[in-house]
């Protein structure tokens, strides 16, 4: 139980074709690993759209509100200074700071959210089955758990699509 079967491709069109063939046979694909983004793969695997824009928006709004409030507090309560006779609470002069922090928050939140969600970044242990996927190989991973077929049947199906060195790993993953 819980065996994993995986095979490699060296070309993007072959990979996309294999994904289509496997899906036509009713086999569910656990994951596809590529060294770089492949056009059309997200659509073929029917992935939902990323939630990253929402993260960016929420973080941006948070940054804007926080920075605006911070400046308001500094210039009216914390340490009021008179700049050329302007009122202490001058919305216009807060806009550049608010703008900058909005972008900073949105950018950092997006970067961090991406690293967390993709299990990357410091401290994470990558579960790479084959180091070639970080170089020039495209890898299709099938899980026995998700399919009704047995391990050998999955291997055969994968080989039939033209996958190179089909291997399997046993155990919980």
């Amino acid at each position: 139980m819980g065996a994993i079967v995986y095979g490699h491709f060296t070309d993007e069109p072959d990979l996309l074709k294999a994904v289509k063939e496997l899906q036509n046979k009713g086999i569910r694909i656990a994951d596809v690993r590529t060294p770089f983004p492949v056009h059309g793969l997200d659509k073929a695997l029917k992935y939902r759209r990323s939630h990253l824009p929402k993260v960016a928006f929420i973080a941006g709004v948070a940054g804007a509100v926080l920075m605006f409030y911070f400046q308001y507090w500094v210039f009216t309560e914390g340490w009021p200074l008179n700049f050329g006779g302007k009122p202490y609470f001058s919305v216009l002069s807060f806009i550049p700071g608010t703008f900058e922090i909005t972008i900073l928050f949105a950018a950092f939140a997006m970067g961090i959210a991406f690293l967390v969600r993709s299990n990357l970044g410091p401290g994470s242990i990558p579960d790479i089955l084959d180091e070639n996927v970080t170089d020039d190989h495209f890898q299709i991973i099938l899980s026995e758990k998700e399919n009704r077929l047995s391990e050998t049947e999955l291997s055969e199906a994968l080989s039939a699509t033209g996958a190179l060195d089909v291997k399997h790993v046993n155990g919980e993953k």
Binding site: H39, G40, P53, F57, F83, L92, S93, I95, P96
Partner: protein, 396 residues
């Protein structure tokens, strides 16, 4: 990937019905002008300022579209090939804009204070080496000669490639676009000083050229969007899909923010330093045109920023068309705010029948030239090597 069914293109014809509509629009403009002159008896400065404003808007739409095309050509982008002919034909209106400038010339003394500066006005006296009528006219002629040359020449090469496709045409298109970019950078800036900033001749702002350029560009993109949507609806450009609208929407969104950025940069620095000779421009506008001054920001920044923020809204025809229309009207207001307080003064400046009706004449003229030009060539440069990519690409 499964292919979507693409219907056959309906060839574009500048039909009688369309001509009739344009004639009606032009008639509205003429009636508005006659009404203002004879019945309302508006002050001369207001009438000349309106002619001047619409001549500038007419030019800006063509110029912005030409810039948009050349910048995409220079970047060797492929997505715009399907809508390239729209931009080409919009660029063709540039030489005709000179007619509307000539119409507005007799009103120069009403528009520009520096044309009749007195000996006592030392500030304007010292600016006369640059701001005098012969040199001003000379510069205007140079700008128009250069822009018209590029608009017509680029269009010619692009059409030539339809009949005898050759790499050399594409290379020439690219290199000419590069030269246009260099020349446009300088001339658009100077034209903004000459035609708009010199209305308030005592006042100056160093980023005014960018400000006018960004407004021009956004207005042109809005018009490209509206024409693209109309052509898509009538199946004249069947290959255009939501991907193209998405990209155009991105430009509208991004450059609306750019416009607001420049607006703020100009306003913030003048507000901060608080020097009377700089603040005079804003004092006039905030004191006498308060609501319009802030409406300008809302219409041109807040509306596109929030309406076009999500991916879906950029891909939906209705939302995009409505926002494009709002932004186009918003940049009319922006131009109005740039011209009227200085040229007409707060007592006489207003948005009346003249301001609303006269643009229809210029719009009709613009569209007539555009349609005649568009009809002459294939609606899509089918022999361009990027044509297939432009029909099939997808935004991630």
């Amino acid at each position: 990937m499964e292919k979507k069914e693409i219907p056959d293109a309906v060839p574009f014809r500048f039909e009688k019905k369309l001509k009739l509509w344009l004639a009606i629009a032009a008639g509205v403009g003429v009636i508005a002008l006659l009404w203002a002159v004879f019945i309302e008896q508006a002050p001369a400065s207001r009438i000349w300022a309106n002619l001047w404003m619409n001549a500038l808007m007419f030019l800006f739409l063509g110029l912005g579209a030409l810039f948009f095309w050349t910048v995409n050509t220079l970047g060797e982008s492929s997505w715009q090939i399907n809508i390239q002919r729209i931009m080409e034909s919009m660029g063709i209106t540039i030489p005709f804009a000179v007619i509307f400038f000539i119409v507005a010339f007799p009103g120069m003394r009403n528009l520009f204070e520096w044309t009749h500066t007195g000996q006592l006005d030392r500030l304007l006296q010292e600016k006369t080496p640059y701001l005098n009528i012969p040199f001003w006219m000379f510069r205007l002629a140079i700008y128009f000669a250069l822009w018209s040359f590029f608009a017509v020449y680029l269009r010619k090469i692009s059409v030539k490639n339809d009949f005898e496709p050759h790499e050399k045409y594409l290379a020439r298109l690219r290199s000419t676009s590069g030269w246009f970019m260099v020349i446009f950078a300088i001339t658009s800036f100077m034209a903004a000083w000459d035609w708009l900033m010199s209305i308030d001749a005592h006042w100056f702002s160093t980023l005014y050229g960018w400000y006018i350029f960004s407004g021009m560009f956004v207005a042109a993109v809005a018009v490209i969007i509206l024409i693209t949507i109309a052509f898509k609806k009538f199946n004249i450009l069947p290959n255009v899909n939501e991907e193209h609208l998405h990209d155009l929407g991105k430009y509208l969104f991004g450059f609306s923010i750019f416009w607001a950025y420049l607006w703020l940069s100009q306003y913030l620095l003048i507000w901060y330093s608080n020097i009377p000779e700089e603040t005079v421009y804003y004092v006039e506008r905030i004191e006498h045109f308060n609501s319009l001054f802030y409406l300008n920001l809302i219409v041109n920044f807040t509306v596109p920023f929030f309406a076009l923020m999500t991916r879906n809204s950029k891909r939906q025809t209705t939302i995009l068309a409505v926002v494009a229309l709002i932004v186009l009207l918003g940049h009319y207001l922006d131009l109005w705010l740039a011209i009227m307080p200085g040229a007409v003064g707060h007592e006489a400046a207003k948005i009346g029948f003249l301001e609303i009706g006269l643009p229809f004449f210029y719009l009709a003229a613009f569209l007539a030239i555009f349609f005649i030009s568009f009809e002459k060539a294939k609606p899509v440069p089918e022999n361009h090597p990027y044509f297939i990519e432009s029909s099939e690409y997808e935004n991630i």
